[in-house]
Symmetry: C2
Subunit: 545 residues, 2 copies
Amino acid sequence: MKIALAQLNFFVGDFDGNVSKMLAAVGEAKAQGADLVVFPELSTCGYPPRDFLEFDDFIRRSERAVLKLAEAAQGIAIAVGSPSRNPVVEGKDLYNSAYFLEDGKVKHVQHKALLPTYDVFDEYRYFEPAKEFKVVEFKGKRIALSICEDAWNVGNENPLYTVVPTDEMMPQRPDFILNLSASPFNYGHAKDRIQVLQANVRRYGIPLFYANHVGSQTEIIFDGGSLAVSPSGEVFEELPYWVECVKTFDLEEVVRGGRHVEQSKEKVALIHDALLLGIRDYFKKLGFKQAILGLSGGIDSAVVAVLAARALGEDNVRVLLMPSQFSSDHSVNDARQLAVNLGIQYDIVPIEPIFERYEETLRPHFIGTPNNVTEENIQARIRGMLLMAMSNKFGNVLLNTTNKSEMAVGYGTLYGDLCGGLSVLADVYKTEVYELAHYINKDGIVIPENSITKPPSAELRPGQKDSDSLPEYDVLDAILFQYIEKRQGPHEIIRMGFDEATVRRALRLVNMSEFKRHQSAPVLRVSPKAFGVGRRLPIVGKYLS
Amino acid sequence: MKIALAQLNFFVGDFDGNVSKMLAAVGEAKAQGADLVVFPELSTCGYPPRDFLEFDDFIRRSERAVLKLAEAAQGIAIAVGSPSRNPVVEGKDLYNSAYFLEDGKVKHVQHKALLPTYDVFDEYRYFEPAKEFKVVEFKGKRIALSICEDAWNVGNENPLYTVVPTDEMMPQRPDFILNLSASPFNYGHAKDRIQVLQANVRRYGIPLFYANHVGSQTEIIFDGGSLAVSPSGEVFEELPYWVECVKTFDLEEVVRGGRHVEQSKEKVALIHDALLLGIRDYFKKLGFKQAILGLSGGIDSAVVAVLAARALGEDNVRVLLMPSQFSSDHSVNDARQLAVNLGIQYDIVPIEPIFERYEETLRPHFIGTPNNVTEENIQARIRGMLLMAMSNKFGNVLLNTTNKSEMAVGYGTLYGDLCGGLSVLADVYKTEVYELAHYINKDGIVIPENSITKPPSAELRPGQKDSDSLPEYDVLDAILFQYIEKRQGPHEIIRMGFDEATVRRALRLVNMSEFKRHQSAPVLRVSPKAFGVGRRLPIVGKYLS
């Protein structure tokens, strides 16, 4: 039997587009001689559909998409993920289902049992968990259908669920497992995913075929990396990341094993490529072509400019250099040099004249008050406004250049440098931004060396350096990683050897700046714990603050 | 037996504060002769604790809070909600639990079975559902402990869960039910809540005591309205809204019934009072005293100014009037008159000089382009920046004045009039803002009549009216209500008799402006479906857009 994995880039809510893509893939799978083609979880409606699932109209469209695919299931069977209705009045109204389509009809539907409701996931918000588990027979083989998380309750020390769906199917002696997934990327996820699938295969002694989404949906990036795993536990083949593909496997060959194709998992390269896809899909799916951003001469905006030029083409990126009285000459020179290196349009727009007018306007109201962060914020906000004015006038999307360290501690001005339609680096710690910069420069200088080597500064007052008000980034990032990614509390982090006052201050800054993150642009997620939909904290709270 | 309901205003993460409040209430209940005092759901840590629950440190502090309360359970028993750990490795690590404390010890723990994971709720994100149900015996009575949603699976046509927890307890013949709740306010909720509790009481034929939170946590407002319900189904007493109270009931009296105390449920009054509490708690819990906002002379900012002055005191509210060349004289006059009526500080800051400087600065980059929304946005953003500058300089919080109709269709400028720390009206449709204005003026003119009667306008270009670009608000709001609150799709709404083109355009505007809502201030929730944490939609999507 020949099984095709179809790793496609879907678009949430675009039923027509998603179905045509799948119909083309059915054709390709047939041409490859496949008996069966496997699409990922919730392919018809895209993932994550979120509260669109609460609309009956949306579910009807999903159902019509499944029926269209069923019509195409002639001479080939199709496994596809789509929502289905729960006919029982008790419980949620929907299931997250795998449809098995054969001979123009729906032959079997297996619902998802394990509904992830952590981090970016909200599945129990919409779906009833499956309580029945049945294999489907096809051409003399028994197939265990499972959906993403269904495979994730084995091979970990602290299982989140009390059921293991595939265990329930084992008495029916399946020949292989199909896992339909929507498993979001983070820089460690491909490794985790392979380990979990290997644990499954070793537990059951049968091969597993895993079809994943590729593409980005607002902040959530899917890397692809679909898999055929041999019963020995060996990865038979891992499909490429970041690209759509349809690839057919011979079941017997996968059972035999002895082949091993795996993708490189170098962290910095993964982040780089993920961000390119995240930028590209955000623009393509929103129907925009051009980006704008502010270049400060610093490393963050330099990295974003390079990523944008690589993702969208240098003709589709323009930058503003917006020096103030506190900007050093080298900042403007470094920014200009980068623009020249990239071949992107740049304009220099000094902010001092506007700043002076704000000062004049506010002077009567500020009488008797000392200069403070207010004046720094005004400068940052003038820059944000100029960028937004260009964005509004020319229809390009403002890219935000804040990094994760700044976003964590609230080192940024709301409505100023926190402006933007998409935040490219806010899940990349400052120390990782340096890694990205070196990676970008690996085959020759793109980002001027000076932008990388000089001490970070917001240049909002004379001689200002980030390290005046923040711990050095290597220390800060290590503390933030423990708190944000690892959910360690102050005692645990201090016990690791970090200075107590620094830890308490860092955690306090994180908790006190939730209000800024709440109003920030969506953040491309590349880590296991990004700011945004996957991290939900009170704005008004009194914990470590 | 005498049972005290303690309806208190907790603060998320403030364990010390929450415990002292509860200890004081224990004292008060004792003074009232109570045998048992009942606190709401998750009282120790406050509700909703969100991802703080993922921190072991946070759970340890909750546990310590329970032990402190247990020490106080001498001569009185205490029922209190707090997280507890799931000792079984499979499943989530926590339960949402009701502790029964007696004689200085934890006598019994009943976990919550029904974990709401819709709208603003995320409980299955953290908690394992209870599978065991045991009554607790106290002074010869058997008590069924239930937690909030546990009571909500009866009395509705489409139950969300397959279990009814109190049904499971009935073989143990409980004498009464205690329900520990954290049930957020909306203008229809008190009625729903009473109906659901009545359905419970009628189903089991025993009295029910219901303790709810009062107070606001960022965007979620709790009204209180704790209840004693007689076995006949009659509301014996509904405690007041918006205030803390401890009230003791005699079980035999509640069983006998014949008493009926209920609070007024007039919609506009409820919304008015809820917004006052929402503003007051936001400031108090964040540690701020003073608010600032822009007064345009229109109805929205007028209503917010009144609410702020009533919530914080007139000395704690200041306003800016920021006329442009397009502002009409009456706008400035109406705004000034309101400030005078309220006795709040106002300053007039014309924006034209700054606007001109922006135009000069951008002129070389805008050559050959026509004036468009860009220039309107610049004006709105100058106002936002001036307000933020005052906010930064004087440490007051900017209140946002956008209403729900504007927020829905994206009629507002990001980083301009969408600025603010808290959005007061973004869950109040424009037609409801009028109701609020009339309610405010019911005992005499506070808001100038002219602000209420003139046609709504953003005054960003000559003669501009909202109705130039939007349907009339009575039509628009009716369509939005069906789409947002009722989750009706285009076909259903058109079938109700609305013009097809208007419906399609309105829904498209809603879906296209998700990016603006994503970056907006937290919205005080007063309706069954508010923008923010309870409504989760993709920014990049292709559905009805």
